[in-house]
Symmetry: C2
Subunit: 340 residues, 2 copies
Amino acid sequence: MYNKIPTLKEIAQRLKISVSTASRAMHNHPSIGLRTKTEVQQLAKELGYEPNQTALFFKQQKTHVVGVVLPNLKEEFFSQAINGIEYVAKENNYSVLIGQSHDDVEQEKQIINTMKNHRVDGLIVSISKYTKDYDHLTALEKYNIPVVFFDRVPGISFVHKVSSDIYESTKQAVEFLINNGHRRIGVINGPNEMKSCKERTDAYMKVLKNKKIKIDLSLVVFTDLTQQKTFEAMIELLKLKRPPTAIITINDYVALDAIQYARKAKLKINKDICFVSYSNLPITNYLAFPPLASVEQYPYEQAKKATEILFELLNKTNNNEEKIFYRDVIIKGQLIIHKK
Amino acid sequence: MYNKIPTLKEIAQRLKISVSTASRAMHNHPSIGLRTKTEVQQLAKELGYEPNQTALFFKQQKTHVVGVVLPNLKEEFFSQAINGIEYVAKENNYSVLIGQSHDDVEQEKQIINTMKNHRVDGLIVSISKYTKDYDHLTALEKYNIPVVFFDRVPGISFVHKVSSDIYESTKQAVEFLINNGHRRIGVINGPNEMKSCKERTDAYMKVLKNKKIKIDLSLVVFTDLTQQKTFEAMIELLKLKRPPTAIITINDYVALDAIQYARKAKLKINKDICFVSYSNLPITNYLAFPPLASVEQYPYEQAKKATEILFELLNKTNNNEEKIFYRDVIIKGQLIIHKK
DNA sequence: CTGTTAGCGCATTCAT
DNA sequence: ATGAATGCGCTAACAG
């Protein structure tokens, strides 16, 4: 009742030729007679024969699959990133195996391991917000499975990575707020483990110092990005003797929660208090109270670039001697002003 | 410089035993001596040996990969769906190969084909909004690759599918609006090819008829879900002699665009005009002007159920004789009222 | 209790 | 111009 997916063997049997001849015919090998070649290709077409990728792995040691590991697809940031990855993968005739870590280090490890067992040819990774050791990732390089990180990248140098320059764009953001008259600027930052969070704090302090504004560390709070913690952060900031007139939040989702809280606290958005954020989610266009500005981080471009690098690495004839040159690409963010 | 990923062969060589002994030892085969077994498992652990999934395919004819094809991940509806799929897949030790059709029939076909070549064990599919023939999909069943559809399902009966009962929830939505005093109710529907769109229209007419409200077909417009077409639809509806006081839109994204347009046209949302929609996106919680109500369609549950069915099919010892019983599961939608 | 062998689908080297 | 044989990693039937 069920048909078998056609194989070269079947084609060979039907035409009473050997499998190798059939194989060569399909590949337009010069030494195959025109007659045989046409017959094979004709029959292949009829049967809908296409090579079994799984079988090809044995010969070529390639699965033609790239693994993608990221925190979650729910955030539009990452689903846009997937598009960039998919785009480049398709160009290279590759498919995409996806796993979400859900910001859980254990799950991340497990997914990576599964990907290894599936022999993905390479990996694109955006690490969980709690990942601090990268052994499960760098281990793959030992097996010659290249890994390229994007956006949430490890804070070590001997990996390939593409990221947004949080330091620079935070400087812009802080300067923007200062130019708009703000002196008490709060920061709702993420877990300190995240490289970007440290950069954010550093940039913030740097600018304040340059502008000779007193640094008050009680204005900088750390959260785990959950709504609950954002609310707590807001409580903390608002109960200060001199509360901030502007707050920089780690991303738009946190900004939305913070804004929601501020509104409940009867603060007038963009009047009593301003918000500047990161990601520049499309959805903010529909909001009545979007952040005043948001740093566009170009997830599509970041992911696309990361995937391009991955394919560069895959296509490089692997010279075991050559010292690896680790790629560290910065995609510049841009501060988008939403309304005046 | 690079290590090879360890294989049974390597373990066997090191211990000077045969590969099959090593294999059996790993599987706790009863006929293997305790000594050998321990040695093998010990060494396997040391080397970090794990079976090569790709190789397993040959023996078991299973890749332990499910393919997922859906229009796009950008819509939160689908990214939530992925979570349901991933959850069940993980439970069954499966991985997920993802492809987005971007609502393009050609891409959909190509992805399905790639998945076939990768020998996915089964497929979960939500079809593009323009897909009307399903040959590329049902063809896979011929090869004994089961396909289960969810949400955007084909309008034919000999496929497995899980969907939301648009007909019933639309009836609820229309009745809700009528109970709130509306008599002129517009519909911004999607392409007529989509099964759900026909159901929507049918349900709409049915209720109006029951309630003895005159049906005016100029109140029902069809779009392709793009912002552009939504605006055009709004123009059309608003220029009617007796414009609608409420509009049902095919999903929240369309609703957001429609609402945006209505606001630009100086209409007061929920006063001059009300919107009811589908999907109940989390993001609507942050909106100043969300739709009055939205039909929650439980993407996670739909996708989870679809995947469970897929695994039922996969686990069924394939009795070629038995007539296939096609599953058609309805996940009831629920009209969520956002504000009074 | 363990080894030998075959086979899954394919490309390729070697032989004819 | 074509076929036979091999090997990729693994399992299982068969043979000791």
